[in-house]
Symmetry: C2
Subunit: 210 residues, 2 copies
Amino acid sequence: MGIEEANTEKLIKEKAKILFFKKGFLNATTQEIADEAGVNRALIHYYFRSREQMLEILLDEVLLEKKERARKILGSDLPFKEKIATYVDITVDYGIAYPYLENFIISEIARHPEKIKDFCSVNRKKPNDLIKKQLEEEIANEKIAPISSEQFMVNLIALCNYPLLAKPVLQTIHGMTDAAYRKFLLERKQIIFRTIFNEEMPELTKKETL
Amino acid sequence: MGIEEANTEKLIKEKAKILFFKKGFLNATTQEIADEAGVNRALIHYYFRSREQMLEILLDEVLLEKKERARKILGSDLPFKEKIATYVDITVDYGIAYPYLENFIISEIARHPEKIKDFCSVNRKKPNDLIKKQLEEEIANEKIAPISSEQFMVNLIALCNYPLLAKPVLQTIHGMTDAAYRKFLLERKQIIFRTIFNEEMPELTKKETL
DNA sequence: TTGGCGTTTAACAAAATTGTTAAACAAAAA
DNA sequence: TTTTTGTTTAACAATTTTGTTAAACGCCAA
């Protein structure tokens, strides 16, 4: 082992993520990534072979984590509305912590649509399958207007994620500071729930258990 | 004048737009743009000085057109719900015609957030100002649950545009052909209206007059 | 018909970025 | 101690992409 960090590979990935997901340098060069991690640029090629492969690894990790998080919540045994409320709560919080993550995902997939195909074929559980039954029950009980689980999930995800993608636009149009924007996003938790269910969002207690 | 097209500049822009907005080659090089337009690469520098300036011009044009379209609809004297229904209708249709346009806008602005600042300072009419009064009336008359015009507009735009940004993901997860995806988007018109207003979308008659 | 002018092109130059290699280095194992 | 192994680096090479220039071209007006 060399003199440096126990796990430089991990370090590089973490710093790259900060660059991409937090700072929003979506087109960071290998040099910039190396600088952020405080290592030589060649190291990135040593560990990841090429810049493209590194991006692929990052994308895979992020998508997996995202899917896992969704599965934990949507696959839990919470009552439907509580489940959705939890999803909104956690998704918005996560979005505040990593404001450019969605941007990264969207643009990486746009660059290489075939990657999402590879990724999806591995794990075939769709998020909408996890809520389909409960949603149909709610509809049968007239608790919510008829809607397919696919359209429902798109609504949910759109309402949570779009404001992140449009962050610079929203901040500029409405003259929001970072703090004001954060507040705007937090307010959205209730807004999103009301938009979907037309009623107030319930209190969330056992967030940690998920 | 040379032997070629009367207006090569326009031709280049149009072909570039096809590349970016329809085909989704978001990172097209000047060479690819030139190929698409069937001209020499140097022409792009002749007309636009640099690739960056060309992108800036394209972005400006597109944003202006978008803003103008929104203003026409949201600033019209239609009743509130009809206005929103028209907005949804036209926005979704436009999204089907130019499936990667939103992607282009989002990623260009992410690359240069300062550009959106320049752009917004020119014309200061925000879309939410155009509907604020009507929205407040609806709320006062208890036709819709209380919500700020900013949050309302974000909901509306998110529901219309997010599915475009997530096109590759949605198509893959649900195994949709292009035709199925198109149908999915068209279905969303009603879905979006119902999600926002909790009632059926009215028929639209005088779409052309806008 | 000729000279000017905007347009178009090919060839060239420059810059930015990625990828490769061989050698130095530290630490653990032999 | 020497060897081995994995890590790190500097220097170099290749590639990709952008930007420049000077000359050719065709049309129109003088």
